[in-house]
């Protein structure tokens, strides 16, 4: 149990100290750097206190205890210092500017008094160095006083912090702050359980109850508390970092998934590719965006090569094979249109009425062109209707489904093989 408590304590300490360092590193960017400094100091202090309090550290540092339980005292003083930093930070956050300095001075005075009192009480307690000093000497009035003073300082810091979170930050409609709020509320709940456990331990000792592994329970609760505080204070920054990297992974995967469709289409219509992007421009999201647009441009360029019967045949084949109507069938239809258009393009067979180059001839008149386009919208050719995806993610999702259908759906094979000319086209695509 001591091993688990130590491991949890070290992990929590690492999280808290890292969080403190991250916050301190950003201090120069903030005009309210006092708040940032106190928050960083609180996190680093509580991290150090947690690491020092672990059974493993206490065992390893026993030779350093020139005075009985000196290392334990140092750890506790770091924790009390963290509580002071929290109070000072909150004072800077909400007190009137002219009240800040006197209040922080008063708090510092109380801190010094508490520190001196703890040192004095420990010295008077006449303890011997032990990992479980609080419980071993619970019946010692000086040691009990030491523990009570320590708990009061910690609870005072925690309750003020919780009050601030509930009172001020809960009014903010920022989603990230709400995450912080939830985590810090959880931390405060664990902190109260930790304080209650410590108090219960003291009382239990006084009434003669023997508790098994109570120190390890206390350490585990403290580790959980410190972890939640460390994560909660820096979660928005971490979440953003994680989210950015998750987006990069998603973008890279989307690029890979769209590669076959994009390559096939841009090989057929090479003019749609934007040449020579500046390497400084070519971020992954830019590359993905260009890929989507180039696919759509190629689809548009290939429209006149779609045989008018293809959508009908694709729908019929999809229905026969039990593909649900709606988006799944639409994907099949679009893939079939692409497959047919690619083949016709290779064969140089335009199927739509305007087989002459666009705007290349005085007739048919533009009126006829537009009305034929309207007919095409209402008719069987349903490629790229405006009711399809609106944003980039939806476009990617849609195009990946089309790509998969184009390259692997047996329905496309069937549609192509039963085409007007009966050609087998699948080998050209795959």
């Amino acid at each position: 149990v001591d091993g688990i408590a130590s491991a949890a304590g070290y992990a929590a300490a690492l999280i808290a100290v890292t969080a403190g360092v991250i916050i301190a590193a950003r201090a120069s960017r903030s005009s309210r750097s006092a708040i940032r400094r106190y928050l960083a100091a609180a996190l680093i202090s509580i991290g150090v206190a947690t690491a020092v309090a672990t059974p493993e550290t206490r065992a390893q540092t026993r030779p350093l205890d020139v005075l009985p339980n000196l290392v334990g005292l140092i750890g506790d003083l770091f924790a009390v210092g963290a509580a002071f930093c929290v109070l000072a930070m909150l004072t800077h956050a909400v007190a009137r500017p002219d009240h800040v300095r006197p209040r922080v001075r008063r708090q510092a005075t109380i801190l010094i008094a508490a520190v001196l009192a703890m040192i004095l009480l420990l010295a008077l307690s006449a303890t011997h160095t032990t990992i479980t000093v609080a419980s071993s000497y619970a019946l010692d009035p000086f040691m009990a006083g030491y523990e009570l003073l320590y708990l009061v300082a910690m609870c005072w810091g925690m309750s003020n912090f919780l009050w601030l979170v509930r009172r001020y930050l809960s009014q903010d409609d920022n989603d990230r702050l709400r995450q912080v709020l939830r985590i810090n509320t959880a931390a405060a709940a664990v902190g109260l359980v930790w304080a209650a456990w410590k108090l219960f331990t003291l009382v239990a000792m006084h009434v003669g109850l023997r508790l098994v592994d109570h120190a390890a329970v206390s350490e585990l609760l403290a580790a959980l508390l410190v972890t939640l505080i460390g994560v909660g204070c820096t979660l928005p920054a971490w979440a953003e970092w994680l989210s950015t990297h998750a987006d990069l992974v998603g973008t890279r995967r989307a690029l890979t998934n769209l590669e076959p469709l994009w390559r096939t289409l841009t090989t057929a219509v090479p003019g749609v590719t934007l040449p020579d992007a500046d390497p400084h421009t070519a971020t992954l999201e830019y590359a993905l965006y260009r890929r989507i647009i180039e696919i759509h441009d190629a689809q548009m360029a290939l429209r006149s090569f779609i045989h008018p019967d293809v959508p009908y045949r694709a729908r019929r084949a999809a229905r026969r094979r039990g593909v649900p109507t709606g988006q799944d069938t639409d994907v099949i239809v679009e893939a079939a249109e692409l497959a047919a258009a690619l083949h016709a393009h290779r064969a140089g067979q335009q199927h739509q009425a305007n087989t002459e180059p666009a705007l290349g001839a005085p007739t048919p008149k533009a009126a006829a062109r537009i009305s034929s386009c309207r007919r095409a919208e209402d008719g069987p050719s349903e490629l790229l209707q405006p009711t399809q995806p609106v944003n980039m993610c939806a476009e990617v999702y849609w195009l990946i489904k089309v790509s998969r259908a184009l390259f692997s759906s047996p329905i496309i094979t069937e549609v192509l093989n039963n085409g007007p000319s009966g050609e087998s086209l699948c080998s050209e695509l795959r």
């Binding site: 960083a40 500046d278 001839a361 533009a366």
Partner: protein
């Protein structure tokens, strides 16, 4: 076309100067750009036939008309609008004098570097913008995926700026600027503290 870092830098400067609403709203964005330029921009969705450009920029002294196809996805249509807007932002295709007659539309700039038939171009414009006299047209540029899209420097620039602009508007608000931690929130409490009743005293 050569790689052009200087142009990319220019694009980023242009994008930074634009009043991009968050969340993005196309109507208010184009209205703000029009206000910034002091010239009205009219978006004209049109059911353009297959083979016609997927977008057109038709400029008069008073109005810039941006025509996009209706038979494509919303993202693709918006990209077309951004491409045409980029021509405006980059000052492309300015003609010295208004076009005299429909016959003088060589159409050479209608779809990039591709020559087009003047009559067909004039008829298409008559249908799309029937109230617009060809005499008033000062500039026509088009985006046509059926041809070599980016055969001219101007088309390449407009496509690049349009794409960068589209990537920018799809970023969530503030995503590129900074991350916020608890200290930032605490630091912003002071300006609003008067709205909140005084809390407990921090000192014992």
């Amino acid at each position: 076309m050569t790689t052009d870092h200087a142009f990319t830098v220019r694009c980023k400067q242009i994008i930074q100067s634009l009043p991009i609403p968050r969340p993005f709203d196309q109507q208010s964005f184009f209205a703000a750009i029009a206000h910034q330029r002091g010239k009205h921009i009219e978006l004209v969705p049109a059911p353009l036939d297959t083979g016609l450009p997927c977008g057109l920029l038709v400029s008069t002294d008073e109005v810039d008309y941006i025509v996009h196809r209706t038979d494509t996805t919303v993202l693709h249509a918006l990209h077309t609008d951004m491409h045409e807007l980029s021509h405006l932002l980059l000052g492309h295709g300015q003609l010295p004098d208004p076009v005299a007659t429909p016959d003088t539309h060589s159409g050479a700039d209608l779809i990039g570097a591709e020559p087009v038939n003047a009559d067909a171009a004039a008829e298409a414009l008559n249908l799309l913008l029937p109230h617009l006299s060809p005499r008033l047209i000062r500039r026509i540029l088009g985006r046509n995926p059926g041809r070599s899209l980016f055969g001219t420097r101007e088309e390449w620039e407009a496509e690049t700026l349009g794409s960068l602009l589209m990537v920018e508007i799809q970023r969530p608000a503030g995503a590129a600027h900074r991350s916020i931690d608890l200290a930032d929130h605490l630091a912003h409490l002071r300006p609003s503290r008067r709205r909140v009743p005084a809390g407990p005293q921090w000192t014992a």
